[in-house]
Structures are given as C-alpha cells and as structure tokens.
Amino acid sequence: MTTVTVAVSEPAEKKFKLNVRDFGIVFGLIAIMLLLTLNTGTFLTGRNFINLFDQAAIVGLLAAAATLCIVSGVFDLSSTANLAVSAIAGVMITQHLGVIAGFVGALLVGAALGTVTGLIVVSTKVNSFIGTLAVSIIYRGLAIVITGGAIVAPLPEQLASFQTWTWPSLFGLTAGSVLMVAMTIVLGIVLWRTTFGRRIYAVGGNKEAARLSGIRTGSIHVAVFAISGLCSAMAGMILASRAGSAQPAMAIGIELTAIAAVVIGGTSILGGHGAMWRAFVGVMILTVIGNGFNLLHWDTTYQQVVTGVLILLAVAADGLFFRKRTG
C-alpha cells in the first residue's frame, strides 16, 4: 500500500525564509540602530554602548524572568515589589554581616519571596495577574513596615565595596550589565535546552495537556516565580548598589516595562510561545529608542509620540510582514 507523505520536505530556500520571518523584530532593532549611527556621532561609541547596557541592566533582568513567567502562562506583577524588599533586606544584612553576606542574603530573600508568591498563586488558584498584583501590594507594604518608610544604607565604610555592581568589568561594561547578560544567557539556555524549559513551554501552551502528561504544573509555576524572585533580587542589588541605599518605593512600575519589553520582542502573552533572545531584543529596542532620542537632541515633547509610534511600527512590522501567528 502506498501512502502520500504529508511531511513533504521543504526546499532549502523556504526554510531560510521561515527563519528570517522569525527574526523580524531583530531587523526592527537593527534599523533603529542604523538610523542612529547615521544621524549621531555618539551612538556608535564604546562609552555609549556601556551606557546602553547599563541602562538595560534592570529591565533586562526583570524581562528575562518575565519571559519564563509569561511563557509558562503566568504574570509576575510582584517582581519590583520583591526587588524593593530584597534590596532592603540586602542592605540591612550588609549593615550587620558585611557586603557579601548582604548580597547573598538579598538573593535568598528574593528567591524565598518569589517562592511564596508562587505558592500563593498556585494554591489559591487565583489568576496570576490579580494574585501577583495583590502580592505586590503586600510586599510594598512589607518594605514600608521593615524600614518604617525610611531609606536604608550600608555603613559608610561599606559603601565603596557595596557599589561593586557599578564598577566596570568585562569589556568595560558595568558589573551589573554583565550580570544581566549572564542571566539572560543562562535562563535562555534553561528555556531552550533543558527539560525544565520544555516543561515551561508545555505548561504555558496547554496546562491541561501538561497535567495529563504527568507534569506537575504547580511545581513548574512555583519554580518560575522563585527564579523571578531571584532575578528581582539581583536587579534590586544593582539598583541599591548604584544608589548606595535602598528604599520601599524602588523601581515602582518597572515590572510593566519589563513585560512590555518581552512582548515587543515577540513573546506571546498567552503563554507557550517565545524565547529569551526576544526579551533581550525587546529591552534593547526600548533602551535604544530612549537613548537615541537623547543623543539626537530631539525635543522631549515629541519624544513620547515618536516612541509610541516606533514601538507600534516595530511590533506591527513583526506581525504584518514576518510572523504568521500573532499569538
């Protein structure tokens, strides 16, 4: 009996096209960068790239974590509240036990709070959007309770080493930028090449199907929230390191910028689709647009209008010309 093969092999040319389509948003970023290189003398300088990465560090870390969350089908709106609490905890521990203990402590607090967020969301079965929103209110409140609403700072003699993350390191990038790039790569590999990463896609793509396949969807989500907490703590320590202090109102609202970056990169907010490099590209688009305007000396009044239009164009071009599935 002869059968018609459904999976006809594609000509090579076709395959390549498919890839180009997938990377549509990258061309958006390249186009913007080209424009800036041609129109300013300062964009394509080492100093500016060091700035760019430094500016992208916080949102980059949060966006990397947000990618895991969103691909797995949840939002973590509590990430920056967690950031504030862990940074505050980090500073307080620093005061008593030194800088290294402070950094480690911050990471532990961040991961622990993230785990708590995850447990709350999973066990109450509340939609993560509203669940983490409530949790974020609680964590911000907690930050106020711990600090009494004041600023906390490491002891004066600790300050220099506390500001490690602002120091230049690899290629002259600040240590904070390097941490962001490293985390993006690590989490990217986790998502791309590990069983955990595959489970994240599975849970986000079809939770019931994942459950029927024996995947502990709850554990996956708790783990994802814990990682998100860890990244928040890292971002928090970088911010505290820059400021030389921490306070309850740190980084309010940046969780939304991070989600926006993830979506601009082309990861679907519906879950199950997306990749880590997309978060990075999204963060870079947002950062480069802001950076470019400042370098171009444009009037900031029109900056907002043009920023909005550019984001729209980048995302629309991706949707219209390159990718079929708009998610």
């Binding site: 009996m1 002869t2 059968t3 018609v4 093969t5 459904v6 999976a7 090449r193 590990t194 069983t195 955990f196 990463g197 595959r198 489970r199 896609y201 599975a202 986000g204 793509g205 079809n206 019931e208 199907a209 994942a210 459950r211 029927l212 396949s213 024996g214 995947i215 502990r216 199950g272 689709h273």
Partner: protein
C-alpha cells in the same frame, strides 16, 4: 513492519500489565449524576471495548481511570491492590496512559517534543533531543504513522494530532492504554494502522480499553465489551456473542435503524444552485464543480488533500487567489463569510473546538450565534424566541445533557457535535457544507444526522459532504469527487465501490 521492536530498553515489562478492577465508581457534577456504581474488571492484555450513547459516561469513566478527574465514589484496584489515582501523574506511575477524546497536545511544541512530553531524554536535565529523535523514528517505523517530527503540533490536521497522542502513550511504555474514540478523527488508512498497532500491543501483553462508536470496529477488535447507559453499567460480555444490532439494542434500550437512509435521486429538472469555478487558495488549486438543487455532493480524499480547505474557500473563510463561487447565478464577493451566509450558505466546520463552538458560553447561545440578527429587535436578543428555536432544533438533533445555562464545554463530545450541527441548521440553509458531520456521535444520532442531511436535500438544499468515513460519503452522496494534493482528480456516481474511490485518492 516489525512490531516486536516495540520492546525497546526504555520500556517497562509488558507482561506486568495488572488486572484492573473498578468497584462502585460514581461521579457527580452538581446535582447530576453522570456515573453510578460502575463495577467491572479488565483482565491483563485484554482489549476491552466500552460503548454507549453520547453522554452515557464513557469518557468520564476513562478520565477517572487516567486520573484526569477524581471519582466521587468507589475504588480502583490493580491486581487487587487498591490504588489512589487523583492526578494523571498517579495513573502514569501505575503504567496507565489516557488518550482523551479532547486531544491534549501542546500546540507550540513540535511533534517530537510532544511525543515525549514531560519525559524527554536528558543528561542532568539538559535535553538530548537526538535520542528522542531516534526513539521517535523507531516508533514511527513500528506504527507506520507518517509524521514530520519537527512540525508544530498546533499546525497538524486533527488526524495527525491523534496519531501524536497515540505515539505519546506508546513512548511512555504504558501497560494499560485507555483510548477515547481514537479512530473518530482518522481516515480509513490511518484507522487500519491504528487497529494493527492495538492488536500487536495486546499480543505483547498491554491492556487496551477502547471507547468507540464504530460497531464493526469494536466487534472486530475487542475481547469483551462493556455497555454503559445513562451512567450505569448495563453489561460486560464477550464480543463474540454480539452483532452490531444486539449492541445497539443494549446501548439505546430499543431497536434502532442505523443504516444510511436511501437518498432520493435528484430530479433531472433541478437547477444548479452552486457553481464553483477555478477556485484556488494556498491549499487548493483550480477546484471547479457544480451542485444542483437537492443534490448531495461528497468529497473524499486523504488527510491533507484539501477537502476542508475547499469548503473553507467556498465559504469565504480562506483567502482565495483566483476563481469564484456562484449561488443561484449570483457571484459571491471573494473572502466574505457574511456574504456567503447571506446567500444561504452554511458551514459545519471539522473542528468543533477550534472552529465551531465558543466553549466558555452556554449551549443555547452557541446554537443561536450565527443567526442572531434574525431573532433580534433593535439590537436586543429576543430571548423567548431564541429559546423556542433552540429547543426545537436541539430536539431534532437529539442533543442531550444540556441543562439550563450549562456551558457547551460541559457537554459530552458527541453532544457538542450535535450542537455544532444544530447551529447551522437553525435556519435551514440553501447550501449546506458539512465537514466530518458525525465525528464522535453515537450510532443512533449518526443515523439521525444522516437522515437530516438527506431530508434537507429532499427539500431542495444543495449539500457538500466531506468525510473521512468512506461509507458515509458513498452512502450519502449522489456524486463523489475525490481530491488529491489540493485538486479534484476523479469523479464517481453513488454506485462507486470503496476500492475505486480509495485507489484514486491514493494514486500518485
């Protein structure tokens, strides 16, 4: 095809399939009891059929065994050992795999990734996709399924998705395989392959529990058969003691005539209603045909041959690149579903979940959706009229299990299919396009739907039927077109034989 190779090192020892005993299983949803005191046992290595009308509780029973839902009463014993199965994980740990009626694939992952879902080969949790790829290649060779391992599961036609589900269970090395209507979405060739696989598995000691509405298929395959009716266990008997008629009698509790009704010949003076001329889209090329008043045109073909796409293109749902459709001499604007509907066209799509029904909404609302404006006043829905109309049509298609306000998602699969059919018959159409109209409906309801199609034709509707069941196409149609790779390649009248049609569909 060497089925013995199924025993790869990754597998559990098949001879260890346990005896399964269900004792007093019961399940309630709110105030309605869907399963009541089910007690039965399945021997190791047995192929056990479960049959019953739509809504009898077959899927519910399988879901309980597979851990997808928890029973409210009763216990499950494996080899006389009571086991607690509250999550699919528990069932999988016991070697029980469930292939549920509503397919459960991850649309954004590839076939390869789906087949080994959750148990990918890895070293220190880093994926070793090569090993999985090799494993899958073996499985494909053993089963004879033809799938592209790299294709996204969400892009596959539903029949291939079903095959992925089956491979998934095989890859897990299940000792007990629970299959809920696995053949409903397969075409003849695929069905044959699957049945072969099931037989080989059973020979190797795997227990298979099978739900199906195809009487011959069940009788030809299973060792014993259990009949459920209204959530109750009627009987479990050797299949050899039964004929299709006797099974139906047990299932329905009365005599039913389930043969496809004789379709009346089209009168020679009947005028042409539908004219399709050179219709092309990305999936079909240069499709042309006509359908006359009262005529039923069947379209046969393999999966991916473009049958569904032909209907979608006619209906204005798929973008066409050339060609047109005329209804009663009036040419339809291309790519306008609304105009097609206005011209009296109706499409019963092939996938009720993706294309047909809004799962989050009540049954009534779903049935009334496409004809809303006909029963509105100043933009307001005339609820009383709607209720009357819906209850009338629900009655005609024998829709059961819907309570006031119940969501379409809470209906059994077959009843959802009936609702889908009802939706497009609410206003009798001038042109009816149906794609797999009886997918998953029980034998009695199937007869009813066939009767309704024949009836509509008799009253002048032009019908186009697409079905993977050759009997359905041949039995129901006046004429049959066969499609291959997006083109019409052959035409037969209703006296065509199965073999003739099959051959032309397969010919390269």
């Amino acid at each position: 095809m060497a089925i013995q190779q199924l025993d790869t090192p990754e597998r559990v020892n098949r001879s260890a399939a346990p005896e399964i005993t269900l004792a007093g299983i019961g399940k309630r949803y709110g105030a309605s009891t869907v399963l009541r005191d089910i007690t039965l046992s399945v021997a190791p290595g047995e192929i056990h059929g479960i049959m019953g009308e739509n809504g009898a509780g077959k899927s519910t029973l399988l879901k309980i065994l597979g851990g997808a839902i928890a029973a409210d009463f009763g216990v499950v014993k494996l080899d006389d050992r009571e086991v607690k199965i509250t999550e699919p994980r528990d069932a999988i740990a016991q070697g029980i795999s469930l292939i549920s009626q509503e397919l459960a694939l991850i649309p954004g992952l590839s076939v390869l990734e789906n087949v080994f879902l959750g148990r990918w080969a890895n070293a220190g949790s880093l994926l070793r996709s090569r090993r999985d790829a090799d494993h899958l290649e073996r499985l494909l060779a053993e089963t004879g399924f033809e799938l592209d391992p790299r294709a996204m599961a969400g892009d596959l036609p539903i029949g291939q998705q079903q095959q992925v589900e089956i491979l998934k269970a095989l890859a897990r090395g299940a000792k007990v395989l629970c299959m809920d209507e696995p053949t409903a979405v397969l075409n003849e060739a695929e069905k044959a392959k699957l049945l072969k696989v099931i037989r080989s598995l059973a020979r190797l000691g795997t227990t298979v529990i099978l739900v199906s509405h195809y009487l011959e298929e069940v009788l030809g395959l299973v060792d014993r058969v259990t009949i459920l009716r209204d959530g109750q266990h009627i009987t479990t008997e050797d299949a050899s003691r039964h004929t299709p008629e006797s099974l139906v009698g047990l299932m329905v509790g009365r005599e039913v005539d389930f043969l496809i009704p004789e379709v009346r010949p089209v009168p020679p003076e009947a005028k042409t209603v539908v004219q399709v001329a050179g219709l092309s889209s990305s999936k079909v090329q240069d499709v042309s045909f006509t359908v006359r008043q009262g005529e039923i045109l069947g379209i046969a073909g393999l999966v991916g041959s473009g049958r569904s796409e032909t209907l979608l293109a006619m209906f204005g749902a798929d973008r066409t690149t050339s060609g047109y459709v005329q209804i009663n001499g009036r040419r339809l604007r291309a790519n306008s579903i609304r105009e097609a509907i206005k011209a009296g066209m109706a499409l019963v799509p092939e996938s009720r979940k993706e294309q047909g029904l809004v799962m989050s909404r009540p049954v009534d609302e779903n049935i009334a959706l496409s004809t809303l404006s006909g029963r509105s006043l100043g933009g307001f829905v005339r609820v009383a009229r709607e209720k009357a109309a819906v209850s009338g049509i629900s009655h005609s298609v024998d829709l059961r299990g819907a309570r006031r306000g119940s969501l379409i998602a809470d209906l059994s699969g077959g009843n959802q299919q009936k609702a889908l059919f009802a939706k497009w018959l609410l206003n009798p159409p001038a042109v009816l396009l149906v794609d797999e109209p009886t997918r998953g409906v029980d034998i009695a309801a199937k007869a009813r739907i066939h009767g309704m199609i024949a009836d509509l034709a008799a009253r002048g509707t032009a019908v186009v039927v697409v079905s993977s069941e050759l009997e359905e196409v041949i039995g129901l149609s006046h004429r049959i077109h066969v499609m291959r790779q997006g083109r019409i390649v052959a035409e037969f009248d209703r006296n065509a034989s199965r073999d003739e049609v099959m051959t032309s569909a397969f010919l390269k």
